[in-house]
Amino acid sequence: MPDYKWPAMNKRKIMGTRVSRLDGPAKSSGRAKYPSDMNPQGLLQTAILVSPHAHAKIRSINTDAAKSMPGVAGIRTFVNAGAEVQWANAEIAIVAANTEEQARDAVRAIKVDYEVLPHMVREENLAKAGTRAKAAGEQITGDPDQALKDADVVLQSEYGIPVITHCCLEPHGQVSEWKGDAINFWPSTQAVSTVGNQLAQALSFDAAKIKVTCDYMGGGFGSKFPADSWGAEGARLSKDTGGRPVKVFLDRATELTIAGVRPSHFMKVKVGAKKDGTITAWQSDSWSTGGFAGGGMAPIPYVYANIPNRRMNHAAVSLNAGPQRAWRAPNHPQASFLTTSAITDLAAKLNMDPLDVFLKNANLTLREATYKSQLEKAAKMIDWKAKYHAPGEGKGTIRRGVGIGVATWGGAGHASKCKIVLHPDGSVEVELGSQDIGTGTRTCITMVAAETLGLPMSAIRVKIGTNSYPASGPSGGSTTIGGVSSSTRKAAVNALEKLFEKVAPSLGVPADQLEAVDSRIQVKGNPNKAMSWKQAAQKMGPQSIEEMGENVPAQAPREGLNTLGASGVQMAEVEVDTETGRVRMRKLVAVQDCGLVVNPKTAESQVYGACIMSICSALFEERVMDAVTGRVLNPDMEFYKLAGLPDIGEIEVQMDITPEHDARGIIGLGEPCAIGGGAAIANAIHNALGVRVPLAPATPEKVLNAIGNRRYA
């Protein structure tokens, strides 16, 4: 079997260097065409009619008047009379017309008769959930009752984190064209190789005849895997109109209400410890919602999972609200927030520095040495020793504080196939049915191919973004970089072997004595017995060399190209104005172990981005439901707040790039870094104020409430 192993760290010429993303110029010049930018000839625009009610039965839908409106080319309904809608903004009907303005006018002419039914849209008070809460079973380890009785100190507390949305800047949607027996589908997707199969299923159509194309996409974060109802109806509208291309993209309000949310998570908890800070017991009662289907229990206690005595109960609360979708590191940010809040508050009760408590109990994690060293590194970066003070200690209106968050993630490579073609003219093509969701995938594939073939990156043409290429997995779970790098490596090694066979006779050595370096094929270690890549390629004759490479997740651990298991620690320093309740970020530091890093430049961007997303959810983001109308109150970007450039403070990222980590192979990185930041910020606020803001996000209102409770407690 050929040797696929990564070249030694100190021998790499391209991998590991800081490369600017290859599609950067297309993006920053506005020339990159996203699916929502496509305007093919004869395009029809659409508007979607959504339900104004959170729970209702549809008595009838009348589209007659809409049909005769100017410019209208087709109308379809998503549901029929008799159906129930279970959340506001659920899709009811869609109009295709020559212009968007006409489609919107026609949507207003559709008459729907609803029988309005009772709804429930808020879950923060479990006692009010009644039959909408379903117990998810109890998990017990050890003897939590006895351990809590025996504990020197027991912390009892409550925390909660609300539903937030993905808020992808490019909304969900696609352009589709159903002509004859073939469909062209241009979705904004994280899954070019699987989304077509889903569409085929929805349409009872031959998957082989659906061509999916997505060169660029404007953000997904876990919400853009499915073909979606509007994908199916968009395609049907195209068929209905004789194959005219049809564009469907959700408007912002619909995007923020039905295209995916991150579940909430609330928890009442007791944590027991010895006087010296050793954690002995955990008992939590938690609940969450991800919409009508309820919400599962986050992995609590998080990272510090092996508390010897623990009992966890969870209830899934079903709401009449838009459904959850995977959200960057599903359930982990919530788990980190809940768990580290409890540990930080326990430390306060013990009169201990929380850093000491996190260090002392590191044996409760799966990677004790790693977490210890990361905690120490992060503490140095934030200058914990100088900045930590007893909670609430300090004077004046403006208070500062520091806090800790932790993270863990898998991140092994997904199934991926890659085809590499070496042409007799010396050119190289690399094809994968993968996608670049903004992570730099295109660039990393090019780097791996160039490194392996001993060529400059400019000699490699990487083609991704359609299902016509060999299938590669969806971009979820931080599995893309491991998957595509491994399949590309293997395809390139396989192709080189074939090339060596053709070249070996001319160089007078067996094929296995050859190597590819600096655009040459040479006898190993001997640049004098060599020929240029161009000359070597000519030895192929007229036939190109085509080779495949495949990453098979079950075999990957044996091959060592990629693996799983990333740990991370983040620490925050904040400044809280106790008069206005405003929290400002001073600094956020992230220590992230990451295995072999293909491109440190884009990898760092992932971590910076994740830190900023953490700031968003810690301080700003919350989907607000109106109990009376059952609607989302802030389905826009003015009141659904995200951080802006002035809100982020200083961010320092420390990638643990070391020979020891490198030897583990590639580990996905997009998600582990998006977990601990929010927790660190919440705990820093506690340190600043000496009082817990129990519900995220720490808006001025919530901060002032927390301060007020303390005063009058």
Binding site: S20, R21, D23, G24, P25, K27, S28, S29, G30, R31, A32, Y34, S36, D37, N39, Q45, T99, E100, E101, R104, D105, C167, C168, L169, E170, P171, Y216, M217, G218, G219, F221, D251, R252, A253, I437, G438, T439, G440, K601, T602, E604, S605, Q606, Y608, G609, A610, C611, I612, M613, C616, D636, M637, E638, L642, A643, G644, L645, P646, I648, I651
Partner: protein
Amino acid sequence: MSSQNDSTKDNLTKSAFSRRSWLRGAGIGTGVVGAGVLEQEADAQQAKVMSGEVEISLNLNGRPRSVKVEPRTTLLDALRNRLDTTGAKRVCDRGTCGACTVIVGGKAVYGCTMLAVDAVGKNIQTIEGLAPEGQLHPVSQAFVNNDAQQCGYCTPGFVMASKALLDRNPNPTVEQVEKGMAGNICRCGTYVGVRKAVLEAAKMRGGSNA
């Protein structure tokens, strides 16, 4: 930075009737319509109602382009839907995110909050007009160098906002960059790169308006 700067009294009267239908078209309930708009509504009662498409000429990236729009069609929708000029993106469609930033009459404006008919007679610069295809404007180049983009959907808006900022203030401080870019939102979290990119672009342009 805001298109509101452009909403002079003159503009308001001219576009009163069209703005009203824009509001309706955009689905904004009267409950959130401010007093200023109600005045416009009153104006609108007296104005002749114009509907359907009219042909206008826009001065786009130095070239006159004729385009049919409805009175309610925003500049952004005219660019994206009717002129296939898709660098500016439609994200919030309500003047909060900056993804649709274009430069009109030398000022950065949100294309989603300006009507196409109000842009007649003004110089409209979109990101496509910054540099010929295949070349990069120094600001775009700085965004590449500093990896100030991930998915890239917000990037054209950031580049245009930076360009307008640097035209106005060729040597901004970090604080001025933060304030100047505060009207743009990025979901992927590229702000660290953006901050560096704008400062680098200022240096590359040698502090003079390029």
